[in-house]
Amino acid sequence: MSFFLFLLVLTNLTLLGSSRLAFCIHTVALQGVVLGLIPLVGLQPLTIQHGILSLSAVVLKGGVFPWLLLRSLRVARIKREVEPFIGFNVSLSIGFFALIGSVVFASNLPLGDTKDSLIIALAIFTMVTGLLLLVSRRKALSMVLGYLVLENGIYGLGTVVADHIPMVVEFGVLLDVWVAVFGMGIAMYQINREFDHTDVDRLTELKG
């Protein structure tokens, strides 16, 4: 269990400090797999339904998403994130502070017992990482990765309070995320075709 939580922290920090997009895609995939496996290794007694759900999450986040994203990376012919709005070192430092902040914050929340509180802390940290990626990067692909990391964090939070969420809803959420990534992939393809680049900060035609 603690190994998985350690991996979760590591993937977040890696994402904040790395510029190679293909590597980031793999890191997000690893994070998705880790989060998908957490309910299997720890927490409540395992039901078949939880098993199926975890398995679908792992297949989707570890297999389908990276495949889709790597494809659009090839189409757009980009390799790295250049000159993000917040530099890699600064993002990494913000990341460390966010990690400490989340742990302190989660331990004061009236949620579950202490065992859960660490998962909650790391889930919040993951969400903050996702938001940081969303606001600080230039490439469209980085934003999709940011969205996925945010979604991973929410999924992590969900594993703690999940006994209230019915199975149909969980699958609905997974389906939505899948369609979202698919849609964003098509959108990136269209941006690349019309603009010849995927720098989102240069999409400034519309204002006022």
């Binding site: 979604e151 703690v160 209230h164 369609v179 941006i191 603009f195 006022g208």
Partner: protein, 488 residues
């Protein structure tokens, strides 16, 4: 009777699968219209007994319909019906010239029916998680309606919409998780997150529940276009084709606001008072009105102007939610009125934009001479939207002012009236030259029958509800307003 809900949910996907067998552009649009009309017919057949047997649920409680969702269902079908009819004329030329290929037309209609489907799911879902699933699906389905014509600006708008709304809606899901976390761990009844159970359950952790409402308000508020989370809205609304803009403004925003109403009812019930939610509703309502007033004043693009007007009206509806039962009544009435007025205006703006080849206000001149039908439609639509009597928006705003006076919310009232006065003046200043100004004459174009039907029926409805609100509808709205309050 309860099979009605299943039927409403199953009709759109059947329509979508039928589109695969149609290979003529025109027929595709007719098919869409047929599917929407079938929905309407189902609802009308059910409507005879509807008020009596509400609330009803089916499929093990997963589908649920009460006065609040039934009202929104009516508004939705009105918007989709007029939109489908208008689309027949709007896309006709492009289908003939081949600017809109058959594959693009098929995709458009699939997405159009897909939006209908996902919004129906949002309204019928009893489980608040499923409601979220429906709402998020709406974003994904509608995004590609913006870029039916793949111009660079349309793609830019689509991208912003997709990212901002996906992230916003993700926040709303945190809200739903927090609702689940705030439930007592032992209550058997509320295990499934059904709204019907949540709105009567007890023993919540109130702090978490309040936090949950904040997340919902911010998350769904992003989708509802409440300022300051509205930044995607003017781009998406202005770049989408006419019928799509009308559907966005006319109902999609309301669907997101509907989700907020449901959450608010749970919170009001748990807290035993509506003070907490009221303050937030009023705050976001007023911010939206003030922000939109500032942007409408200096607007250069007619469709962006209408988009900001949507921010304003969603602000007004949200404001009403914070003013007690009378305010909620006004909000629900305003929902219908705004949807009619905004659809009419977006139809007119879309068609005039096609005729003049631009949506810039300074390029559209003397519309009443060059395209009388659409000139009148735009004039009346905008006049109705700024609240001129005898159109129905005047009535709902009047009821809202009365509600504010009854609650002795003086400051709120002053800001509200100032905001809509500024918008009144600004819109009239833009409107005059567009309708009556001197401009180049356009080549004569005949109006299609579908256009005449849409304009006349929307005009008639705006006027009708402005002059007379039938008693059964009043009673129905009061019931729905009580559901938003959640205190009964």
């Amino acid at each position: 009777m309860s099979s009605l809900l299943i039927l409403l949910f199953c009709i759109p996907p059947v329509g979508i699968s039928l589109t695969f067998f149609v290979h003529r552009g025109r027929i595709l649009f007719l098919l869409s219209l047929g599917v929407v009309l079938l929905d309407v017919v189902c609802l009308l057949i059910g409507a005879g007994g509807l008020p009596g047997c509400l609330p009803m649920q089916t499929a093990g409680g997963w589908f649920y319909l009460d006065a609040l969702s039934a009202w929104h269902l009516l508004v939705m079908l009105l918007v989709f019906t007029t939109g489908s009819v208008f689309a027949l004329g709007y896309f006709r030329d492009d289908l003939v010239t081949g600017r809109l290929a058959v594959t693009a037309a098929r995709r458009y209609n699939q997405l159009w029916l897909g939006s209908l489907w996902t919004m129906t799911l949002t309204l019928l879902a009893n489980n608040i998680g499923l409601m979220w699933v429906g709402m998020e699906a709406t974003t994904l389905v509608t995004a590609f309606l913006i870029s039916v014509y793949p111009k660079p600006v349309a793609i830019e708008a689509m991208w912003k919409y997709l990212i901002i709304c996906s992230v916003g809606i993700a926040f709303a899901f945190i809200g739903i998780l927090l609702v689940a976390a705030s439930l007592p761990t032992t209550g058997e009844g509320s295990q499934q997150l059904f709204w019907t159970q949540l709105s009567t359950a007890g023993g919540y952790n109130l702090l978490l529940l309040k936090a949950a409402f904040l997340f919902s308000l911010l998350g769904f508020g992003t989708k509802a276009g409440l300022a300051p989370m509205h930044t995607w809205l003017p781009d998406a609304h202005s770049q989408a084709p006419g019928p799509v803009s009308a559907m966005f403004s006319g109902f999609m925003l309301n669907a997101a606001l509907y989700c907020i109403m449901r959450h608010g009812a749970i919170v009001n019930h748990a807290l035993g008072s509506d003070q907490f939610t009221s303050r937030l509703y009023i705050l976001f309502g007023l911010i939206s009105i003030v922000v939109s007033a500032a942007f409408i004043l200096y607007q250069r693009d007619i469709k962006r102007l209408l988009a900001y007007s949507s921010v304003e009206h969603l602000g007004i509806i949200t404001l009403g939610l914070g003013l007690g039962p009378a305010g909620c009544f006004a909000s629900l009435l305003h929902t219908l009125n705004h949807s009619m007025g905004k659809s009419l205006s977006f139809f007119a703006a879309g068609r005039l934009g096609q005729l003049y080849g631009s949506h810039e206000i300074r390029r559209i001149r003397g519309a009443i001479h060059s395209a009388p039908l659409w000139g009148i439609a735009l004039a009346v639509g905008l006049l109705a939207l700024v609240g001129v009597a005898p159109f129905s928006i005047f009535i709902s705003e009047y009821v809202l002012v009365r509600a504010a006076i009854d609650r002795q919310a003086g400051v709120v009232l002053v800001i509200f009236l100032l905001g809509i006065s500024v918008i009144f003046v600004a819109v009239l200043r833009h409107l005059m030259p567009m309708i009556w100004g001197e401009g180049k004459t356009l080549p004569e174009k005949s109006c299609s029958t579908s256009a005449v039907i849409v304009v006349i029926s929307l005009l008639g409805l705006l006027l009708f509800f402005g002059l007379y609100l039938p008693l059964p509808i009043q009673g129905f709205l009061s019931r729905a307003a009580a559901l938003i309050g959640g205190l009964s």
